[in-house]
């Protein structure tokens, strides 16, 4: 079963705009991670936020976590064409395995 569900399923924006993706999850987590997958490639780890954190930044990425609502958001600022990819959230619970959502396909138009 999928731990997270991303929203929207697909997002298309112009280069330079900000992109926001949301993730909702079902069970308690120790941390939530975001991964990027370029077409035909494996996943790349972007950022991790722990259950006791509310916000985290890394470069152009900002992640928020609301454990009361079981939701997280990923913001990419000043998007570039190279940011075009699928983005997945993944929750790590007590079972210590990562459970991935179904992903958001982001397209950044030049």
């Amino acid at each position: 079963s999928q731990q997270g569900e991303e929203d929207p399923q697909a997002l298309s924006i112009q280069e330079g705009e900000n992109a926001t993706m949301n993730c909702s999850y079902k069970t308690s987590i120790n941390n939530l991670q975001w991964y990027r997958q370029n077409s035909g490639r494996g996943l790349v780890h972007l950022i991790l936020i722990r259950s006791n954190e509310r916000e985290k930044h890394s470069g152009r990425l900002r992640v928020t976590l609301d454990t009361s609502k079981k939701s997280s958001s990923l913001l990419i600022t000043a998007s570039r064409a190279a940011d075009t990819a699928s983005y997945f959230c993944a929750g790590r619970g007590s079972a210590r395995q990562l459970t991935f959502g179904s992903g958001t396909q982001l397209t950044v138009l030049p």
Binding site: G40, R41, L43, H45, F88, A95, R96, L98, G101, S102
Partner: protein, 114 residues
């Protein structure tokens, strides 16, 4: 450092045939994972190894899927016999230890079962 290597990159077989995938994790990584990613979905964990022992194989369809990690380094995942619904990308990932937060993924093997 070299990343996770997988082969082959693509494979086309007919249903009821057998297929095997190979993975070489990052050197020194004790934990190895196999995921199945069906088109339009996120990866689903099939099996997790810690060194050469199985930690979690609860989602592995054991009637047709098998995996091994001899000597705690390379791993192979086998499907025998394949079904149409096995068409997917099979991703291998590794991490230094099971509790390490970050997993490093290989490029995947894209399997098409006809």
């Amino acid at each position: 450092e070299a990343g996770v290597a997988q082969s082959p990159r693509y494979k086309i077989i007919e249903k009821r045939q057998s297929v095997a995938f190979w993975c070489n994790p990052i050197s020194g990584h004790a934990t190895l994972y196999w995921y199945q990613q069906i088109l339009g979905q996120g990866p689903k964990l099939l099996i997790q190894f810690q060194n050469n022992g199985v930690v979690d194989d609860s989602q592995l369809p054991k009637d047709r899927f098998s995996a091994e990690r001899l000597k705690g380094v390379d791993s192979t995942l086998k499907i025998q016999p394949a079904k149409l619904e096995d068409s997917a990308v099979y991703l291998c990932a590794s991490s230094i230890e099971a509790i390490q937060e970050t997993q490093y993924f290989g490029p995947g093997t894209r399997l098409l079962v006809l």
